[in-house]
Amino acid sequence: MGRLSVNLCGTELENPVIPASGTFGFGYEFAELYDINCLGTFSFKGTTKEPRFGNPTPRIAECTAGMINSVGLQNPGVDEVISRELPKLKKCFHKPVMANVSGFSVSDYAYTCELLDRQEQVGFIEVNVSCPNVHSGGMSFGTQPSAAAEVTSAVKAVTKKPVIVKLSPNVTDIVSIAKACEQAGADAISLINTLMGMRIDLKTRTPVIKNKMGGFSGPAIFPIAVRMVYQVANAVNIPVVGMGGITCADDVIEMMMAGATAVEIGAANLINPYACRDIINDLPNALDRYKINNIADIIGVIK
């Protein structure tokens, strides 16, 4: 057990660094660049019951210290993820992986999670509740405690693996939603998903993103993420996985001091494909810099 190891829902992670869903595919593109077994684990591309192309392009907009994406959960669907992506992943990643699941109805979530639960490669199930609920006028599950709890219970009923509920920050009271998920049986909470943002092309007088709005991520949102991780970590008794704009080892430590047991890194992978490897390599120096023996010692030191 090294200085960097943390325990997430009973599983020992070599380090707290987890590439976030949607920025790391199913791993093998990055495996061509470095040995991804250096990661704590990673959260694979958001998977849905049916295959999805996602949203029309352009799907990407640049911002100061960040970007907006409107990919729209493009993925081959759970069956192909299991039949084609996971076998490919098996060749290059030998740790329990985090399966990221999205859905548009409670039953969608349950269906997809049940199938992924059976894959022994899968060590964690991360449930993205930021998706629109087709049965309530497209309102996101993640914006109401009751809806988030309903998804959590349905998923818990079909899996024995740790269920991590990934929350949307586009809410008035993140704590009430986190607590509802905890009460519904969530084994951990991960946050924050992207903030809703928009940019306009002044020359063409149209939104840069074809769907007008999209998810804003990058260093710009880090202070909001730290705040929400702090609020949630101090309100629930389950582990919190912190994410949102983490770019360097110092950011990892700040997020963990705020209350995160592990961290996810998203946009940074897109700018520097080696970001997670570089951060992991730099973490020991950062621990020395701040006189920290083991990284687990600082989880939630801010009271």
Binding site: T23, T57, P273
Partner: protein, 244 residues
Amino acid sequence: MKQVLLTVKENTALTENVFQMKLEGDLSEITSAGQFVNIKIDNFYLRRPISVCDIEGDALTLIYKVVGKGTEVMSKMGVGTVLDVLTGLGNGYDLELCGGSPLLLGGGVGVPPMYLLAKRLIKSGKKVAVILGFNTESEVFYEREFAALGCDTKVTTVDGSYGIKGFVTDAMPENYSYFYCCGPEPMLKAVYKHSKTSGQFSFEERMGCGFGACMGCSCKTVTGYKRICKDGPVLKKEEILWED
């Protein structure tokens, strides 16, 4: 893909807003014409993808148009500036299928990738014809460079101020064995319609990462969903499904 540091050796204007930048460094990952590099620019979050115009040993030539604040900063970079660049991105053109007398069509900033392509086709003994399309005389660049390679080179301008009046499609010859095309989407569609042979098109899309991770630049093709940055930017005529 490889992340390398490249040093600016030259950065000069070819036209009012089209610049030529020569860079030096490890280019080992750049294997084929039609690939691109992705450049980090200080104070801008996303990298800037620029297609490869030419490569000679450790010397890379890029030609880019100033379209926004990022490329404007690029245009002001001095010799000696060191850039963080992701190299060897994209599939590039397939040279196998081109027959004996391929036709290359480039429009605007779609012209640069045609240069390395022409160079390699000629080197492999092909008889290469090139049509370069621009809006007006002041925007024309690289005609001499293509001619110097030994290409049969035609230039078209929309306003007729230079070369043949009209679009590249107005200058397409009767006979060619295959074609390669890069330019704005309306041009690609016109060539798709007018072309009598098979060929390859290079596409543009707003990219997030540029190396296949973010699914930001996906498109639908006959053979399924493809990522312009990784499975493209070059698609074969037979694969293309025009949206709209």
